[in-house]
């Protein structure tokens, strides 16, 4: 009996150790994904605004250009459909929510609560049984019966906790494996969007804005006052910085980082979850955070530069 109890306690503790390892890496994964999603989302939400600004900038430096809304070239009208942008924003939010829900399951306190609740229930049942014995027979309750209640409650609590932990792990594993193909598909599409749509759009748009200012200055500089030249040259300076930042920034890097962190999570979930597996996962997430930092910095710089122009 004692050996069985020891085994049970050891098993229970082992169960707790295994599931506890999920909590930290998933928490880090979620935080990292939330930061990355904010930066990726900014690119998509600003696509049409960016194009409108390029269009108006063109009109500013070219007096022959009429400003229109709609038509074949779209003019001021949005060029990228609202539904397409919304699908990207939804994808970004859903991935973030997915990380948060994984964290909620990984961090569920239900198994601990079950164990504590079982012990309380056992103690209370024992007290009630004693009271009924006294009330019905008038005799003192059998003290030896009470001695079994504590260990039995502990056994029920420990078993229950193990069952709940196993359920929690199974739910986590199923969710990670079921979602993996869709998460990969979303990341592949976001990567393609950022690399083949956003990047060329921003780089050529900033180049066009720079050309407009440079050409305007070169054509009109002789007719301009010193102050007008000074103002325009400052604008050209700021626009040059923006162009250079656009050609060096690689927004898809954030997606690469999420992909690596996600692949590490899938591998870890399906592994034996020993300390070596955990350290590989944490290492992958740390790498991701390092990769993400320049992307976030670049976005902040672009925002600052935009405000400065």
């Amino acid at each position: 009996m004692r050996r069985a109890m020891t085994m049970l306690i050891l098993l229970s503790m082992l169960g707790g150790c295994v599931t506890a390892t999920f909590k930290e890496p998933v928490g880090k994964f979620t935080t990292a994904m939330s930061t990355a999603n904010a930066s990726i989302g900014t690119y998509f939400v600003r696509m049409n605004d960016f194009e409108r600004e390029v269009y108006l900038d063109d009109a500013l430096y070219d007096p022959t250009k009429e400003v229109t809304y709609g038509g074949p070239t779209k003019g001021l009208a949005p060029i990228f459909s609202a539904a397409s942008i919304q699908a990207r924003m939804d994808a970004v939010s859903l991935l973030q929510a997915y990380g948060e829900k994984l964290a909620a399951v990984a961090g569920s306190k239900a198994p601990d609560r079950f164990q504590a609740g079982s012990e309380v229930l056992g103690t209370n049942l024992s007290k009630l049984a004693d009271r009924f014995t006294t009330l019905s027979t008038g005799a003192e309750p059998d003290k030896s019966a009470g001695a079994y209640v504590g260990p039995v409650s502990t056994i029920i609590g420990a078993f229950g906790r193990m069952v709940l932990e196993a359920k929690r792990d199974a739910a986590f594993k199923k969710a990670v494996n079921d979602a993996a193909p869709s998460v990969n598909a979303i990341l592949a599409q976001l990567d393609a969007d950022l690399t083949t749509v956003i990047d060329p759009l921003i780089e050529t748009g900033e180049a066009q804005a720079l050309f407009n200012q440079v050409q305007f200055y070169n054509v009109n500089r002789a007719k301009m006052t010193f102050e007008q030249r000074e103002t325009l040259l400052k604008k050209i300076d700021a626009q040059t910085s923006r162009y250079q930042m656009a050609i060096t920034a690689r927004p898809a890097e954030a997606v690469d980082g999420i992909r690596d962190a996600h692949a590490a999570l899938v591998t870890y979930t399906n592994s034996a979850r020993n300390p070596k597996d955990l350290s590989s996962l944490v290492e992958a997430i740390e790498t991701f955070n390092t990769r993400l930092e320049p992307v976030v910095n670049a976005i902040n710089k672009l925002r600052e530069a935009r405000r400065a122009v």
Binding site: F80, A185, A207
Partner: protein
């Protein structure tokens, strides 16, 4: 002069090719647009030639924008389908978390109920 006309003819040639192609290489086109804008700011062509290069670059960018818009739209259905799958997984995770909490709630409530009955018996007796 040879320098600029070579790039100019490459840009125009690509522009002509676009009309007959359904799937254009937007990455190559974006590179040509950037190169043409850079040429339009290069001091070697005259100001007039730079203006022409700038107009060509803008025209090419206009076409690039249209192609990018179509490419962006084309990727949307795949994304919508994948989003649906994530919604399902998120619901599953919510349900599982709720089930686990419910089991723990039940056992806690049972403990409280037994304690309440004990107090009630105390009052009655």
């Amino acid at each position: 002069m040879l320098f600029e006309s070579r790039h100019l003819s490459a840009a125009v040639e690509f522009d002509v090719q676009l009309a007959g192609e359904t799937t254009a290489d937007t990455t190559k086109l974006a590179q040509i647009v950037k190169t043409t804008f850079l040429l339009a700011m290069d001091p070697r062509p005259s100001l007039g030639q730079r203006a022409i290069l700038g107009s060509i670059a803008k025209e090419l960018r206009e076409r690039l924008r249209m192609l990018l818009s179509e490419r962006f739209k084309a990727g949307t259905p795949f994304l919508v389908a994948a989003n649906r799958e994530i919604v399902t997984t998120n619901r599953y995770l919510e349900d599982e978390a709720a089930k686990l909490e419910k089991i723990a709630d039940t056992i806690e409530q049972l403990g409280k109920l037994v304690a309440a009955v004990d107090k009630l018996v105390d009052i009655i007796a």
